[in-house]
C-alpha cells in the first residue's frame, strides 16, 4: 500500500468493506470496454475514464479516452486522447491526440498507455502518470478509492443506443502535479472518478448537467454526485439522478420524479475563460458560458430529503468539434462551492464542500 488511509476508520459506520472488496468491485466493473467495431460491431463507440482531484489551491482534471474515429479522411479506426487541465494560479493544460500505434488499451482491464502517459489500476489504486508535450504540466498520482463503485447502466439517448456510467465518487490522492516547474504536492487530496461508454456522436441531440460534491472535512462520511441528461434544448429530461454515499457504500439514490432543479436566472459573469485545445478559441471566443450563478438540486422521497446548492466561481471549457455538423460541443468544467443539507434515514446531513460540475453546451 502506497499510503495509509485514515478515512477508512472514520467512514466505517456503514458495513465495513475491506479495501480489497472495493478493489475487486472496481476491477470487475470499471474495466475498458473498447469498441466492438474492430470485430465487425457498431462504430461510433466512445469511452473515457475521468478523474478530478481537488487539493488546496488546485483543481486537476485528467481524462483518458478512446473513441472510434468518425472523421472523414482519417487513417485510423480509433482516436486515443488525453485531457489534462489544471488550475493553480490560472487554468492551463491541453488536449492531446495520439496515433493508435502509440496507444494501447487493454480490454477487460484498466490499463491505458498513450505514449508515455499511463493509467493503470493495480494494488487497489489507480496509478496515473501523464505529461503534456507542449505545455509544462506533468502529473504522477496514486488514487485510492474510498467508496464502492456504482454502475448506472443504460441511460436513454435520443439518437442512438444508451449511455453507461460507472462512478467512484471519493478517492484519496497521493502524488505530485508539476506546473511550470513548480511542484504541487497532492497527498491526501480528495478526488472523484467516473467512466462512461456508449455509441453516440458529439452534436447529437444531447446535453447534460453533471456534478459531484466532496466534503471539505475528511471526517464527513457523505459525498454525492448528480446528473441531469436532457435533449439539446434542455426541454426533455432523459435521466435525472442524485446518488448519495455514506462511508464506503451508496446510501440513497433519488431519481427522476423525486428530483427538481432550480437555477439562478443570472449567468456567472466571467472576465476570461481558458479554452482547450487552444485553436478552438478562434471558433468560440465568447465569454458567455451559459453557466448559472447557482444550481440547486432538491430531492425528496418518503421522509428522506436532500438539498444541494452549488455556487460556481470559475469555468474552463473543453471545446470539441461537433461530429454531426460544423458546430462546437462545449464542455463547461465548472468549479463551485457546495452546501448540502437534508435528512436520510432519520439522520441529518449537513456539510460544505467543493464541487466540479460539467455543463454541455453548443455553439
Amino acid at each position: 500500500m502506497l499510503f495509509e488511509n485514515p478515512m477508512h476508520s472514520r467512514l466505517s459506520d456503514s458495513p465495513r468493506r475491506e479495501p480489497s472488496a472495493i478493489a475487486r468491485a472496481i476491477e470487475m466493473m470499471d474495466y475498458a470496454r473498447r469498441s466492438p467495431a474492430s470485430l465487425g460491431g457498431r462504430g461510433g463507440h466512445k469511452e473515457w475514464l475521468h478523474f478530478v482531484v481537488l487539493a488546496p489551491g488546485v483543481d486537476l482534471l485528467v481524462n483518458f479516452s478512446c473513441c472510434d474515429e468518425v472523421r472523414p479522411g482519417a487513417n485510423h479506426a480509433v482516436l486515443p486522447r488525453l485531457v489534462l487541465l489544471s488550475r493553480t494560479d490560472t487554468w492551463d493544460g491541453d488536449i492531446e491526440n495520439f496515433a493508435p500505434e502509440d496507444a494501447h488499451v487493454e480490454g477487460g482491464r484498466i490499463a491505458f498507455a498513450f505514449a508515455d502517459n499511463r493509467l493503470e489500476f493495480r494494488d487497489g489504486s489507480f496509478h496515473l502518470t501523464a505529461a503534456l508535450r507542449e505545455r509544462p504540466i506533468a502529473v504522477r498520482l496514486c488514487l485510492k478509492p474510498l467508496t464502492m463503485p456504482v454502475f448506472v447502466p443504460s441511460t436513454p439517448m435520443l439518437d442512438g443506443p444508451p449511455l453507461h456510467w460507472l462512478v467512484v465518487p471519493r478517492l484519496q490522492t497521493s502524488g505530485v502535479l508539476c506546473v511550470g516547474g513548480r511542484d504541487h504536492v497532492l497527498d491526501g487530496a480528495p478526488a472523484y472518478h467516473d467512466h462512461n461508454w456508449g455509441h453516440f456522436l458529439w452534436g447529437h441531440d444531447l446535453s447534460w448537467e453533471w456534478g459531484f460534491v466532496l466534503p471539505d472535512d475528511a471526517a464527513v462520511p457523505w459525498c454525492l454526485t448528480f446528473v441531469r441528461l436532457t435533449d439539446r434544448k434542455r426541454i426533455t429530461a432523459l435521466e435525472h439522478k442524485l446518488l448519495l454515499w455514506r462511508g464506503t457504500t451508496l446510501s440513497r439514490s433519488f431519481r427522476e420524479g423525486e428530483l427538481a432543479v432550480e437555477t439562478a436566472l443570472a449567468h456567472l459573469p466571467l472576465r476570461s475563460i481558458f479554452k482547450a485545445p487552444r485553436p478552438m478559441a478562434l471558433l468560440v471566443p465568447e465569454l458567455a458560458a451559459d453557466v448559472p450563478r447557482h444550481l440547486e438540486t432538491h430531492a425528496a422521497a418518503g421522509s428522506d430529503w436532500l438539498s444541494c446548492r452549488c455556487e460556481p466561481y470559475d469555468v474552463v471549457q473543453v471545446c470539441i468539434p461537433s461530429e454531426t455538423d460544423l458546430g462546437v460541443t462545449i464542455f463547461n468544467e465548472v468549479s463551485a462551492r457546495a452546501q448540502v443539507r437534508g435528512q436520510i434515514g432519520g439522520e441529518a446531513v449537513a456539510f460544505a464542500g467543493r464541487s466540479i460540475m460539467e455543463f454541455i453546451r453548443y455553439a
Binding site: 472523421r71 479522411g73 487552444r278 485553436p279 478552438m280 478559441a281 478562434l282 471558433l283 468539434p321 460544423l326
Partner: protein, 136 residues
C-alpha cells in the same frame, strides 16, 4: 519538405479541406463566392479567388475585394490563443480592408475554413511543418 511559403501552406491546406472536409470547403466557397482576396503575410502576397464553388490561388496579383495584411507570428499567436481575432484587429496586427458586406463574408469564410481546419486529419502535420519552417 516543410511548407516555407504561406502560399504553399494555403494551397495545400485548401486541397486537404476539399478532400477531407468537403462540407467546410463548400461553405467557405459559398461565403466567398465572387470574392477576390489579397493576403499579405510578412510581405509575401497571395491572391485567392472564389468562383464556381472552387477556391483558386492566383499566379499574379489581381484587384481584390478584401485585403488582408498580417504576419506568421500573428497566425501562430491566434492558433495558440495568445491573441483573439478582435485583439489582433484592434492592435493593427491584422489589417483587413474592404466593404462591410465583403468583410462580413470574409469573416464567415474564415470561420468555415477554421471549422474544417480543426477537423481535417491532415491539418496538424501541415501546421507543424509550417511552424517548423518559420523557426529561425
Amino acid at each position: 519538405m516543410p511548407e516555407t511559403r504561406f502560399a504553399d501552406f494555403l494551397a495545400t491546406s485548401l486541397q486537404a479541406l476539399d478532400r477531407e472536409l468537403p462540407q467546410a470547403y463548400a461553405l467557405l466557397c459559398t461565403h466567398l463566392a465572387g470574392q477576390q482576396l489579397a493576403i499579405e503575410v510578412d510581405g509575401e502576397m497571395v491572391g485567392l479567388s472564389f468562383a464556381g464553388g472552387r477556391a483558386r490561388l492566383l499566379a499574379r496579383a489581381a484587384p481584390a475585394t478584401v485585403h488582408v495584411v498580417t504576419s506568421r507570428a500573428l497566425i501562430f499567436d491566434l492558433i495558440d490563443a495568445r491573441c483573439t481575432l478582435l485583439q489582433a484587429v484592434l492592435s493593427d496586427r491584422l489589417l483587413v480592408r474592404g466593404a462591410p458586406q465583403e468583410l462580413l463574408a470574409f469573416h464567415d469564410g474564415l470561420l468555415a475554413y477554421l471549422h474544417g481546419a480543426v477537423r481535417a486529419p491532415s491539418f496538424p502535420p501541415l501546421l507543424r511543418a509550417y511552424r517548423a519552417a518559420a523557426r529561425p
